[in-house]
Each structure stands twice: as structure tokens, then as C-alpha cells.
Symmetry: none
Subunit: 190 residues, 4 copies
DNA sequence: AATGAATGAGGTTTCATTCAT
DNA sequence: CATGAATGAAACCTCATTCAT
């Protein structure tokens, strides 16, 4: 693994463990097994690592979705998307926080759209196909709705895992209700 | 205004201006017009002020909604809720970020539910009445849906104002689409 | 117990627990159950409490010795003195440190002689009687020897209890050896 | 001189001048001519420097004794030891206090035995030889007596120089009496 | 490209002390 | 006499950053 990669991984660990505020470059370089000065050859500050971390995270979601979502009724595809986003939010609990927390408090907020673009594109495709197959309501605005869809699912996943720390049963309940909510919203009949 | 209140207000200002990372206790006490040591009589660290700030923010949303939402068709009430949350997110852009970024990176995440409780209760009431009036689908789970509803609206508002920095027209488009989305989701016919 | 007394007792506790360096007036007044400001009505600083503490300690030794030492052969009397000083050093381990530590680092070193005076007087008396009874060597200088005697015993007691943390057996060994040492030194035959 | 050494020397100066309580790390680094942060690369706190200082002091005593004590009657050797310890206590008055006051109020008390070990070993050797030469009493326990001997001499030296601030004549008197005391104690006839 | 000891600015934090009640 | 909230000076200590190697 090259130095840049090692810094990103170490940063993920340290941020997850200590939070952004208390994470230090010293600890990141220690974990990465490189010298203090070397960090500055790759990044200008600890927050400058955030976009790279965000990319790692979005890629995980995208990989999860693309590998698990199969052809079939849109309702079922949405079920899979919800499951993947919930699972990844749970598995990478701290990392999820990091994206929101870290990116927003930096000059790198602007990169957000770029980083999320591939995920949005993928969802837009899905909606487009659903529309063509008359599986979702015809006057759904695809671009806006992609954003609303992802936002809804992520916000609930974060809510249940990060803030409410709910038990498995309640989480399942939220998931089911969320599925009903978004399929209704899309007018997805099949 | 008592000292505690002055610290909270000053902290809101400083955090909004500098971001959490670069905000300092020194600057907060300067703005608050109190002595350095006095801060520590009320809070243990700058992040310990966050729950108090979050409360201020949730209260603003709640006040906005309760004062603006009138009796009428549920679809119209939801329109108002969306408008209020969008407006407040826009107006208190930085403060909104603060709640998510500040609370999550502290030991105070646990307070989240408590702080949001009044807002959730109010939405639950609204849904309950809608259900009784047969204005929304009968098998909607009120508790879960309240959370989903707020989450969806906030996530889109943050998206358009904080991350995408969209123009007025696009924002209006998102709002309209979001309204369609959630009314469909609730099966809200009137 | 009056306020002054309560401050002294609280100071003993806090100094013993935290050491002089880390002891604070705040903690002393907390333990004493009085207000911050009240401290200053009785003492000018935390170190100014030291002479009062030292007095408490010397009194304990003096009380112990005077109540336990009976008439009899000088060798036996010395045994009792050693036992008392060892016991008190053990029982008030931290307090013993305090006297040496606290007094020396203050302007109050001068009070030392005054505080120890009664103990020295008592030992001088003992030696005087021993000399008259021809139980100790005739050319022993009573004043100097009193100081040497106390110094030797205290230094060994501190050594074994405070620095070496020896086990009971070794301590007994030191005590026995010390008794032999000082009786020989005094030429105390009976 | 390396940085660590410079810190120790500066700490000795500052402690001697100001006392432990009022000594500050700031002043130590100033005297040492190094940066504030550099101190923390070598020691964790000002009291953490104490063991290093204690070592310096014990070495001075050991050097003094080993260089001045010559072969000859044990009584004469003891006279030299007393003289050396008295001289060093006088010369390094403040430093002597430091060892007792500084070490005891820290977690480093445990290092005491280690630091004093070389001095004890040297005295034990002396006693062993004296015993073999039948110059001291045969049933003297060497290990215990070494400790008693050092303790007695140091305690009197500290007494006269640090606490009582006696005049030269009285000090000479104490020294002579002390010599008589310990030679008698050891049963040292020659 | 990589190192890591040293830096020192500037934040945090403490706590003796005051003073209006 | 007694209080204790407030003070703010002054200490602590961290940690991003540099630079000679």
C-alpha cells in the first residue's frame, strides 16, 4: 500500500476513534507508520484528507448497491437499496458521521456533489428505467427524486444507528415503514 | 441575560463564523463579555455547549411550524412544514451544520432524541389527526413515519442549501418534488 | 470543631492524598465545608497551614512517648521510643512526609526548632537522668545527642516505611539493629 | 551538552532558587535555552525531573566519599564520611532539600532505593571490611547498619544546616558528638 | 521522497484571590 | 464573620509545521 493510501486508512481509523476535533496529525502518522513530515507531502491538513475518505465511503455504497441490486420489480430493488445503505451505515457508523461532519466544516464542501455524483447517476438510471417500464409514476422528476430518495434513506439510517441507537426490532420496523413510504412516494406499484 | 445564556449565544456566533474546528473558547468568552475562567463554571469544553445550541435550533423550527401551520388539508400543512424547515435551514445555515457536526462528534449524541422529542411529538400529533380524518393512509405507523418525514425534509433542505448551493429555481423544483413525494408517500389525498 | 481546626484537618487530608504540589485551596475548603473566602480569614496560603500541621504531628509523637515510656532501664526506654516513632511514622505515613516536604519549601522552616522543642526537651531529660543514673556514658553531650538520637530513629523509620516499603520482617530487623546501634552509641549498659 | 542534560541543570537552578512549588516549566526552559515544547520530549512534568536530580546529588556524595576516604582505621574513615556528607549538604543545601521534598511528593518515590543503591553498596563494603578486620562489632548486620549509618549522618547534617541554621562552632560540636555516637554504635575501637 | 527532533504560537485550563452581598 | 460567583493572570501543554539530514 502506498503512503497516500496508508494515510487515508490511518485517518479513517483515528477520526473514527477520536472524532475530528481530537484527531491529530501526529496520531495519523503514527498509525500510518510514516514520519511527521511525510504527511505534508500528500495532504496539507487533517481536514484535507476528508474528501478522500468520503470517496472511499461512497464507493462502498455504490459497490454494495451495484453488486446486490438485480433486475426485477422496482419495489424489490428499492428494498435492496435500503438494505445496503442501512448495512453500510451500521458497519461504518463512524465513517458515515465523518462524511457529514468532516466535509461540512471545511472548504471541501464543494466536492460533495462530485463525490456523490456516481451514486446519484446510478439511482437516476434506475428511476429512468422504472419510468420507462411504467413502474413508477410518470411525472416523477428523476434528478430531484434521486436526491430525495438517497437523502430519505440515509437520514433514517443515520437516525436509527447513530442518534437513536435503536434495537434490531425497531430498526426493522423503520426499514419496513421506510420502504412503504418511498414506494408509495414513487407510485411504484410492482 | 444570564452568563450561561450569553455563552450559548456567543458560541453560536463564533461557531457559525469560524466553524467548530477553529472556534476557540477565548473568542467565545470575548464575545460573551465574561472572564476566561467563567466559561468553565458553566461548560467543560467548547463542544459541551453543543446540546444547548441544538436545543435553541430545534426550538426555532418548532416555533416556526406551530405558528405557521394552520388547520386545513394535510397536503397544505405539509407544504407549510417543508417551507418552514427549508427557510430555517437557509436562514440558519451554519447553525444547522453545527447541530449535525457538533453533536455527533461528542459524547452528547445521546441527547439527540431528547432534544428532538418535542418536534417529533408535534409531527406525530399531526399524523394522528390526519389518520383520524382519513386524510392519510390508515396503516401508516405514526411514530416511524414522523421520523422519516422530518428526516426526508431536513436532508433535502441541507442538500440544496448546504452542499449543492443551488439557485432559487432549482430549490423551488426540489421543494415541489419533495412535496409530491411525501404526500404520495402518506397517501394524502386532500 | 472551629473553622481553623477544620481547615487544618482538611489540609492534612488533601495534602496526604494529593501531595503538596497538587493540593489546592479549593479542595481544602470543600473538604472543610467552608467557603473559599473563609480560608483567607485564617491562613494566607496553603503552605501557611504547614506549621500547624507539623505541630499536630509532633504532639502525636510526644503524647505517644510520654504515655508509653515507663521508668526502667534506659535500653528499654529507648526500645519504646523507637517503637513509638516507628508506629507513628507508619500510621501517619503521608503526614510525616508533609512535615519535611512542606516546611522546608516555605518561609516557615524557621519554626522547625520551635515545633520540635518539646520533643527535644523530653529526650534531653531522659538522657540527663540516664547520665545521673550512670546508665549512659558520662561524656555524652546531652543536647547534641538528643538531636542525633531523634534524627537517627526518624530517618530509619522514614526510610523503611516511606521509601523502601519494606516487609514486616525486614522492618523488625531494622528496628532491632537500630536499637543495638543507639544503645551501643550511648554506652547504655542496662 | 545534550538537551536532557541542559533541562536537568536548569531545573536544579530553578528549583534551588524558587523552591519546587514556585518553579515553573517556563522558567526551566528559558534557563535551558530550549523551546517550551522540547521539555515535554524529555519529561512529562516538572516533578518528573526529580529522580534525575536525585541521581546527580547521590553521585556527588559518592564521588566525594570515594575520592577522600583513604585506607586507615575505621574510626578515621567514618570521620571522613561525616565530613563529606556535612560538606555536601552545606554546599548543595537547596539541592538536598529537593531530593527529600521533590521525590517524596511524586510517584517516583519508588526510584529512591535504586538511586541510593550505589552509596549503600559502598558503605556496606566498608562495614564488611571493618568486620573482617575485627574493627567493628562482629554481630553488626551490615545491610541494615549501612542504612542506619547514612540516615543518622544525613539527618543530623540536614538538621544543623537546613533547619537549625547553627553557627560553625555548634556544627563542629554536633559533628564530633555524632562521630563518637556512631563509632560507639559500631563498637569501632580503632 | 522521506525523516523526526525541535520549535513556539496560541490554545486550554487552573486556581489564588477578591468583593459585593 | 462568612460567603461563593466571578475574575484573569499565568501557568500548562499541545501539535501543526519546519528543515537539516
Amino acid at each position: 500500500m502506498d503512503k497516500r493510501e496508508r494515510i487515508i486508512q490511518a485517518a479513517i481509523d483515528v477520526f473514527s476513534e477520536k472524532g475530528i476535533e481530537k484527531a491529530t496529525i501526529s496520531e495519523i502518522v503514527n498509525k500510518a507508520g510514516i514520519a511527521q513530515g511525510t504527511f505534508y507531502l500528500y495532504f496539507t491538513s487533517k481536514l484535507a484528507v476528508m474528501p478522500a475518505i468520503a470517496e472511499v465511503m461512497v464507493n462502498k455504497i455504490l459497490e454494495g448497491i451495484t453488486s446486490e441490486v438485480k433486475d426485477g420489480p422496482i419495489s424489490q430493488q428499492i428494498e435492496v437499496i435500503i438494505r445496503v445503505i442501512f448495512n453500510i451505515t451500521n458497519e461504518y457508523k463512524e465513517l458515515t458521521k465523518l462524511i457529514y461532519t468532516g466535509l461540512t466544516q471545511t472548504q471541501y464542501v464543494g466536492n460533495w456533489e462530485t463525490i456523490y455524483a456516481p451514486l446519484y447517476r446510478w439511482i437516476e438510471d434506475l428511476l429512468q428505467k422504472g419510468k420507462e417500464a411504467q413502474a413508477i409514476h410518470p411525472d416523477v422528476n428523476i434528478k430531484y427524486t434521486a436526491k430525495i430518495l438517497i437523502g430519505s434513506i440515509e437520514s433514517v439510517a443515520e437516525q436509527v444507528y447513530l442518534y437513536d441507537h435503536l434495537d434490531a426490532e425497531s430498526i426493522a420496523g423503520h426499514k419496513k415503514e421506510l420502504h412503504k413510504f418511498v414506494t408509495n412516494a414513487l407510485g411504484a406499484y410492482q
